[in-house]
């Protein structure tokens, strides 16, 4: 009767277009990952089975890429989480100017990652960058360089990410804080729990789902985007910021080893999905669906 057919029909256009723009690339990726792509015209692509995948695990840049990616993702997420939570708590404290300040805080999220890269490339430049000047002036950075130093360069891309995305976390947490049930808070207050206890016993458990969603979305995006790194360091110095997603760009578009690139991309996608799924499972286990 009503239903099925109508809803199916209106879902169709989206599904067809999505299939066209996602399934084919996916299929292509899987096929290519099993081939050794020819390097000269006239030569046939050669079927090599799983050799491309096996090759990945012998490629130290690939393996190192995961370590760097882990550092980048891990530290960024932790810092964004902590700062975001703090800011959310403080924003929550505001009464009158809350809206204006929240609006200011969210500004960085709107900015193109490429632009963020250029902002920080400019600020960290040792010849004329104001942040470089500031760090030198307060003495954190002695004679040295930010983007030319393997440790500082990682810090730099993390700082850029933190700058852009902490507001995202803060806003999500703020939304979460506003949904902590009043009665539970009051009950805990009546039970005489000190503020810290109240935070851990009432506030945090009520925010698990919000936290998981925030971290999950940041995780997914940080795994995909290479724009900021592309602009700021192009993976250097000495490969210090060559995350596994950035290295994929190298393999596919600089080495033009499309077979290897496809295998690389497939593994990256798989790992992202698995970790994301694990997050979702945690959320389900906690039984705190939105």
């Amino acid at each position: 009767m009503f239903g099925m057919s109508f809803y199916g029909w209106i879902l169709m256009p989206a599904v067809i277009l999505l299939a066209f723009i996602t399934l084919y690339p996916c299929f292509w990726m899987i096929v290519m990952s099993l081939l050794k792509v020819s390097t000269r015209p006239g030569m046939k692509n050669e079927f090599v089975g799983l050799a491309n995948y096996a090759g990945l695990f012998k490629d130290s840049l690939f393996l190192q890429g995961w370590v760097i990616q882990g550092k980048y993702v891990g530290i960024s997420l932790v810092v964004e989480f902590i700062l975001g939570f703090a800011i959310a708590l403080f924003l929550n404290n505001l009464k009158r100017s809350a809206n204006v300040i929240t609006t200011i805080v969210l500004v960085p999220m709107m900015i193109a990652p490429v632009a963020v890269g250029f902002l920080y490339l400019y600020l960290f430049n040792s010849s004329f960058g104001w942040y470089y000047w500031f760090l030198r002036s307060i003495g954190i950075l002695r004679q040295g360089s930010i983007l030319g130093d393997m440790n500082w360069a990682v810090a730099a891309i993390i700082i850029a990410d933190v700058w852009e995305w902490t507001p995202f976390m803060a806003l999500i947490f703020l939304a979460g804080l506003k949904k902590v049930p009043l009665d539970q808070l009051e009950a805990s207050k009546c039970d005489g729990a000190p503020p810290i206890r109240r935070f851990f016993d009432v506030v945090l458990p009520n925010m698990v789902s919000v936290i998981v969603i925030g971290v999950l979305i940041r995780f997914m995006d940080i795994m995909r985007y290479i724009d900021t790194i592309f602009v700021m360091t192009t993976g250097g110095p000495a490969g210090a910021t060559k995350t596994v997603s950035y290295y994929l760009f190298d393999v596919a578009f600089r080495f033009f080893d499309l077979g290897r690139g496809a295998a690389h991309g497939f593994v990256l996608l798989l790992v992202t999905i698995i970790i994301a799924q694990a997050f979702v499972n945690i959320m389900k286990k906690k039984g705190v669906q939105r």
């Binding site: 430049n125 040792s126 010849s127 360089s145 030319g148 110095p237 490969g239 600089r254």
Partner: protein, 505 residues
């Protein structure tokens, strides 16, 4: 670059105004129709063609539209601005698409490897492009003696160009095929603050026992002294020297200079370094000289500006312009921006240009020579081999036109581009401009360039199909070594292993 920007403004202002006034219209046009090249009135070009005596040869593919995928370098911009002349001469439209090199690589790579012909002409930078794609480009030698096609009156022989530049960007792995003609060069020379050198020479002599001058015999060991001297910060700059260690092409070239300077060391043994080879076999990494040089480079890097590893040519140029470093090795075309008082504190005759530092004889243990290792990038124009024969011929007409002496001459005069034909480099007008005061600041670098790009100083770099991967691996490992993360011996060993694995040795 001051001059360049000024003249680019002249060239492009017409287009800019059009875009401003009718920005909407132009842009809407972008959706529905293909953008038009500025085609119009001037008959000067037609006259020139007639004078050349073969107007019909030039016009045989009139009506064709050619697409040239190029890096956004000054010569490409200049040619773009002259598309109208080309149209008047040949009746063909030339659509020049400019992108940054990495994007050019991506697009050309996908295009060529997919057997497609979206881009008829490709920018053929010798190493990052040619090594990968040369097999996909058309052989130009078939057109060179073809009487049914226009030919350059000077011809295309090796000696018509800078030292073996035709080989460098036109021949890959075999000498029988020519896949590109050179139209743009970038040669690395030493930029140093002559004013500071003159001012503090006594001071320096007191400390180090010899005068502070830069000559073609200055060695990398002297560089250590210069850096120690300037790094004190007392002499007008913050650091003595800055490298260009940015991963990729810049870093590969930069590391290559000290490596080759000491005993002409190169990664692989090749029959002809200028042609390269498809699989060079086992690498030389790990031999005593390589470890020795790496060790010395570590010392150099310790004293160089700490940002060196993240700089490419423009990064180090910014540092030089802002007076952060007293010396840097950079490509000749940067002279314009260094000499521009609006951008640079070093402008106004304060800069000296010399050959790259020489190898230090005491650091050489393989018994070979110490040289002023000089490397470069030669940009060529190549024709997509996936094109039909007729389209290839049409593309050839553009190639001949774009690499001809008159065009190179005007590009040099107007944009400060860097010519590839010897006839331009030795033109009296250009020779005159090589001394101050000059209207072509880039020409100031030609004397050291012309001296350095010959044997034995010149080093063309390993031309291998896996050049990009090699450059990445090498930059990362040497970079780690320069940051003190791993010792020279260890680095050499890792490089040997990785590069040999890459080639399946």
């Amino acid at each position: 670059m001051f001059r360049e920007r000024m003249s680019r403004r002249n060239f492009l202002s017409t287009a800019g105004k059009a875009a401003l006034s009718g920005g909407l219209l132009v842009a809407v046009g972008g959706i529905v129709s293909k953008p038009k090249v500025w085609a119009g009135g001037s008959n000067e070009a037609t006259q020139a063609a007639k004078k050349a005596g073969g107007a019909d040869l030039w016009r045989q593919y009139a009506g064709t539209k050619l697409i040239f995928m190029s890096e956004n370098t000054p010569p490409s911009s200049a040619i773009k601005a002259r598309a109208k002349e080309f149209f008047d001469l040949t009746g063909m439209e030339i659509d020049i698409r400019q992108d940054v090199l990495s994007t050019v690589q991506e697009k050309v790579g996908i295009d060529l490897k997919g057997g497609s012909d979206a881009y008829h002409l490709n920018y053929a930078q010798d190493k990052p492009m040619g090594t990968l794609f040369a097999d996909y480009w058309a052989d130009m030698s078939q057109f060179m003696n073809d009487p049914t096609l226009p030919q350059d009156p000077e011809g295309y022989d090796l000696d018509k160009w800078g030292y073996r530049w035709l080989d460098v960007c036109g021949k890959f792995y075999e000498s029988s095929k020519i896949v590109a003609l050179p139209y743009d060069n970038a040669v690395a020379v030493m930029f140093y603050r002559l004013d500071l050198f003159e001012k503090y020479t006594k001071e320096f002599e007191k400390q180090f026992g010899y005068p502070l001058v830069y000559t073609k015999d200055t060695t990398w060991k002297n560089m250590l002294d210069f850096m120690k001297f300037f790094n004190t910060g007392k002499y007008g700059v913050e650091y003595g020297y800055g490298f260009q260690g940015l991963e990729g092409w810049a870093g590969q070239l930069d590391f290559q200079r000290p490596l080759y300077a000491h005993g002409e060391w190169q990664e692989w043994d090749m029959p002809d370094q200028f042609l390269g080879t498809r699989n060079p076999g086992p690498s030389r990494w790990g031999d005593d000289q390589s470890v020795m040089t790496l060790g010395k480079m570590q010392q150099l890097y310790k004293l160089a500006h700490p940002e060196s590893l993240s700089w490419d040519w423009s990064g180090v140029n910014n540092a030089f312009q802002t007076g952060k470093v007293a010396m840097c090795v950079n490509y000749g075309e940067f002279a314009a921006s260094v000499e521009d008082p609006k951008q640079s504190v070093a402008a106004g005759g304060k800069v000296g240009y010399g050959m790259d530092p020489k190898g230090e004889p005491s650091w050489i243990i393989n018994g070979k020579k110490a040289v002023n290792a000089t490397n470069y990038g030669i940009g060529g124009i190549a024709i997509n081999g996936n094109l039909s024969k007729d389209m290839q011929r049409a593309a050839w007409i553009f190639t001949v036109w774009a690499t001809s002496k008159p065009l190179q001459m005007s590009v040099l005069k107007e944009l400060g581009g860097t010519p590839t034909r010897m006839s331009v480099l030795t033109d009296p007008e250009v020779v005159k401009a090589m001394k101050r005061p000059t209207t072509m600041p880039n020409a100031l670098t030609y004397p050291p360039i012309l001296e350095a790009v010959k044997a034995p100083h010149v080093v063309p770099g390993p031309k291998i199909p896996k050049w990009n991967e090699y450059a990445t691996i090498q930059c990362i490992e040497i970079g780690r070594c320069m940051q003190g993360r791993q010792g020279p011996e260890e680095t050499a060993k890792i490089l040997k292993k990785k590069l040999d694995t890459m080639h399946g040795v």
